[in-house]
């Protein structure tokens, strides 16, 4: 009972707090900041306290009548992981925001939407009813939109347009999937759908495809990733952080649900996800390599990391009953990614906070003398590249193991290539992170020496430190997380535990090999090819700007073409009736105005001129109709016609 109430509280608390905070903010900014931090803190606290309850048995809450189908919330350990990470990240980000946003406008609005986004995110993870999930998903899209365009400049608005456009389009596709789902199965509870869906024929692939596309927009799956590179740089850094740290996970959560619950780990879907994951990894990594804007690098990096998770999800299905390791890897990486990506974004944010600039060409050497920042950033850097001793190492190892396992089970060329892509992508990660780290924190630039110390306030650094500690802690002691995941795996229909020793020679060797490869790429490719000298200073170029671009070369032209052509067609229909009438009357006018008598008989314009078109003729006729002679004439005609008609 207490669990159910707690469930409701963690859902509603941020929503209510959003409004309350808005009102408080009108009076006092300081109090509002404090209020928000406290609320997220309470939220996090409740989530932590819930662990005991949840680990005993899943908490279920059903409130009928809401939205017609009722609100069905459920919290088991699997979902708990997501909820926990969200509330944790949010707590830290809120704290960070209070510092970051200190000079921004519209802070009140920001916090309101920030809290609402939290509520909806929690809602997504808690929903048992897929319709509820969709609801929260859509709310989240809208509330996060307000965060993204916070700057209100043209760039942000454009980015926001793409974001909301894709979010809504994705939502519609998702909804289409749900329509079909409900039509064919008649149930909405996620755990129940699977049994029914599995009995359907090929329609289930269509359904799952639609749903995955819908979630895939948020998860930035490959052809749907175009928003990522625009939105992340546009949003304020805390927003980018949660976008990448948590909102990305909602999409992945949806895909996980779809493949594992709805489709019961169907092989075909999983294989597709696997391939998509590999593409994500590779393309994200590659594109990240070229970027100069740190935030954009991190954005692509997020995409690449999402690829890892997708690979994990795909592997779960591919490995079927042996998916244990894949489950571990996936869930672990979800946690890890949230931690280190947020950490990295926060670091970037601090730079931005000071310089209002995030292009590495401009901020080169900024961090050379800022030791605190340098250290926490380094932690994030090491974590993301999977350096042993940091958490990234654990999850990457797990995923790598899982991939190897799959290669072991289904020995074919595809999985071998997959393994290679995995390694190369990881080395890309190393390369682009090195690019950032070396340029910003290692190179020397006189102008930043000793400056800008004060703005880096403790309140902003504190969350970063917390995150760093967390990163290192669960990197050193993976058991803490693993025990939680142990309980979650039940939800995936497998049992048992894994016994892995992470810090074995082989694993470390593999990891170091990857890092070495990455350093190689950095040295050979990044330094040589992307870095140009210009006198004393050096700067990076981005040749990928001119490359083939999905958004610019495919989506925009085709959308424009469709839009223009349909608009034309519908305009024609729209004006159809009216135009038809006008057209006819014009024609008639034209016809009646047509010259009957040509006045080409030399210059002689005689009295016939007054009657040289049908219109004149008719006018004259109408005039004459009034005269007696014509009247009699008409009578005579009618009489004759009648009599002739009657007698013959």
């Amino acid at each position: 009972m207490i669990g159910q109430i707690a469930l409701l509280i963690i859902l509603l608390l941020p929503a209510v707090a959003g409004f309350v905070g808005y009102l408080i903010g009108k009076k006092s900014e300081r109090n509002r900041d404090l209020f928000n931090i406290i609320i997220t803190g309470i939220e996090f606290l409740i989530v932590i306290l819930l662990y005991k309850e949840v680990s005993n048995a899943p908490v279920n809450l059903f409130i009928s009548d809401i939205m017609g189908t009722g609100l069905h919330l459920k919290l088991d350990i699997f979902r708990y992981i997501f909820v926990w990470i969200s509330s944790f990240i949010w707590f830290l980000t809120t704290m960070y925001s209070t510092q970051y946003l200190i000079k921004y406008k519209n802070r009140n609005r920001y916090y309101a939407f920030f809290m609402l986004t939290l509520a909806s995110t929690i809602g997504i993870f808690l929903s048992e009813n897929i319709l509820n999930l969709f609801t929260f998903f859509e709310i989240m899209s809208f509330t996060s939109y307000a965060l993204i365009i916070h700057d209100e400049d043209q760039y942000a608005l454009d980015a926001g347009k793409i974001y909301i456009g894709m979010a809504i389009a994705g939502g519609m596709v998702l909804l289409m999937g749900l329509f079909l789902l409900y039509e064919y199965t008649g149930v909405l509870n996620i755990t129940e759908i699977g049994e029914k869906l599995i009995q359907l024929g090929n329609i289930k692939y269509l359904i799952s495809f639609l749903i995955i596309v819908g979630f895939g927009v948020k998860a930035s799956i490959v052809p749907l990733h175009v928003w990522v590179s625009k939105v992340y740089p546009a949003a304020p850094t805390p927003a980018s952080a949660i976008l990448s740290g948590v909102l990305l996970k909602t999409g992945l959560f949806g895909i996980l649900i779809t493949t594992q619950y709805l489709m019961q780990g169907d092989f075909m879907i999983s294989a597709v996800i696997l391939i998509l994951g590999l593409m994500n990894m590779f393309i994200g990594g590659l594109l990240a390599l070229f970027q100069r804007n740190i935030k954009r690098i991190l954005a692509y990096s997020g995409m690449s990391q999402a690829g890892y998770i997708l690979v994990g999800i795909g592997l779960m299905g591919v490995l079927k009953e042996n998916k244990l390791i894949a489950v571990y890897g996936t869930l672990y990486h979800i946690i890890n990614h949230a931690l280190f990506k947020v950490l990295l974004f926060m670091g970037t944010g601090i730079i931005y906070m000071v310089l209002h600039e995030v292009s590495i060409n401009q901020i080169k050497g900024f961090g050379k003398h800022k030791q605190g920042l340098k250290i926490v950033f380094l932690v994030g850097f090491l974590a993301i590249i999977g350096m042993p001793g940091f958490n990234g190492f654990i999850s990457k190892t797990l995923l790598h193991e899982a991939l190897a396992e799959a290669g072991h089970r289904y020995p074919n060329i595809g999985l071998t290539i997959a393994g290679m892509i995995f390694t190369i992508s990881s080395s890309f990660t190393v390369a682009y992170m090195l690019k950032i780290f070396i340029t910003v924190f290692m190179e020397n630039d006189e102008k930043y020496k000793g400056q800008f110390k004060e703005p880096i306030c403790k309140r902003a650094l504190l969350p970063m430190v917390v995150l760093s500690v967390a990163v290192i802690y669960i990197g050193m002691r993976p058991e803490t997380v693993l025990t939680i995941i142990d309980q979650a795996i039940k939800n995936f229909g497998v049992d048992g535990e894994i016994e892995i020793h992470f810090y074995t020679f082989n694993n470390i060797k593999a990891s170091l090999f990857t890092i070495g490869l990455g350093v190689g790429i950095y040295v050979i490719f990044v330094r040589k090819y992307l870095r140009k000298k210009d006198g004393n200073s050096s700067f990076y170029v981005n040749p990928s700007l001119n490359w083939f671009n999905l958004e610019r070369n495919v989506y925009e032209p085709s959308l424009m073409a469709i839009f223009t052509s349909t608009s034309v067609v519908f305009h024609v229909i729209d004006r159809g009736v009216v135009n038809f009438v006008h057209y006819t009357s014009n024609k008639v006018n034209k016809f009646s105005g047509m010259q009957i008598k040509r006045d080409s008989y030399g210059q002689i314009k005689d009295s016939y001129v007054e009657m040289n078109s049908l219109k004149d003729f008719l006018n004259k006729l109408a005039k004459n109709m009034n005269s007696l002679t014509y009247s009699v004439f008409i009578v005579a005609t009618i009489l004759v016609v009648t009599l002739v008609m009657l007698t013959f």
Binding site: L628, V632, V635, I638, L639, T642, L643, T647
Partner: protein, 490 residues
Amino acid sequence: MTYAKNFPLLMILILFISAFIMPLMKKNIFVKGLSLFTMGISMILSIYTWIFITKNGAYFYRVGHWDAPWGIEFKIGMIEAIMAMLFTMVATLILWYSVYSVEKEVKDNKVSFYYLLVNILLGSLLGMVFSNDLFNCFVFIEVTTLASCGIIVVKDKKENIAATLKYLILSSLGSGLVLMGIAFLYDITGNLNMTYIHKEIMNVHAVYKNTLHIAAGLCTVGIGIKSAMFPLHVWLPDAHSSAPASSSAILSALVLKAPILLLIKILYGVFGFEIIREFAILNLILILGTMGMIMGSVLAIKQKEIKRVIAYSSVAQVGYIFFGIGLGNKLGLTMAIFHIIGHAVTKSALFLAAGAMIEKSGKKKLSELKGIGKEMPYTLGLFTIGALSMVGIPILPGFISKWYLSLASIDAGEFMLIGAILMSSLLNALYYFPIIVNGYFGEENLAGKIYKSNEKSIKELLPLMMLIIGMIAIGAGSNKIMDMIRIGLI
């Protein structure tokens, strides 16, 4: 109650005799009083007649000492009684209205002549309704022509005279044709009494088919001229639009209708249902009626003066009546007669309302009458209700005619013609609504107008209101009226 049998003749006599007393009177007020009084008396008598008929059924009435077929005979049935009632009632109301306004359009010294002519006109119209003798009808037609020419020309303006002359010549042409038709009938049957002709025709129609065709054709065209069947309506717009308001009302409400009734009598009474159905003349009437419905409205749209619009609208409405006649089934005929009733009331109200507007504002162009609704809200309001009936708003008689005419054309298997009916009613809307809309609304139109500044007094508007109320009552009581008509037709 047998004395009631004399009432029809009495009505005619009262009207005729009283008419000739009028010039003797010195003061116009007495003339008006007498006219109104006699008309009222005839109205009461006609109501009595109707009651008598409903109780005792139709009867023949011998006029003078000769029995039919030699003497003149009246046939008073249900339809005739209703028509008499309609004519006298509408005429009474129009006269009532004219009492207040006639001086505006007719010179003082001509007022007594005006009422004289009106009385004679009504008397002859009633005669035409009652008479069972073809030649007698012809005479009444001629009297009607003269009298109606008189009430047009009485205004003594240029255009009146020209219009009257046109009307006169065409009318006499028409009556010549009718007479010719009568001659043919007489030639075949040797009778002038309709009942007897019918009997004879039943015997000989197979032999004299062509002659009968020609007779029917001549009568139709002749009466068509009189009742403005399209395209023989050419005289109507001029005549109706230039006449004084009360004359226009009488002309289009009553004078057009009596010949139509005569045509019905000839076609369905003299020839009879069975024979006339074989004739092509009905198709002709149907076609001309349909054309009239549409063309009348189309022409009305083009007009610039309010009275001409209404006059052309009459052409369209007469088209409906001919349409009903031309369908050749009982329902169609019933509706034709019903439409005569409905239209008589509506059109007279419209003409009176338009007349009131013209009288008060001194303008007759549509473009000048914009914003009149602010000055004369009640008058235009009454006009609006009348127009709504023309357009075919349910319950009002216009709608009922349209509905049943449509059903009748379905009965006759002519689905396409429903389209014509509906199109015509749409066209009606097209020229009536702008008058109303521009009258009541529009920033520019209303500028400078003072509310109710020009309104007629309630006393003067009362007859108009009663006409409108009567119209609504006709609509509401349409079923009873139609039942009565059906009784009359059998």
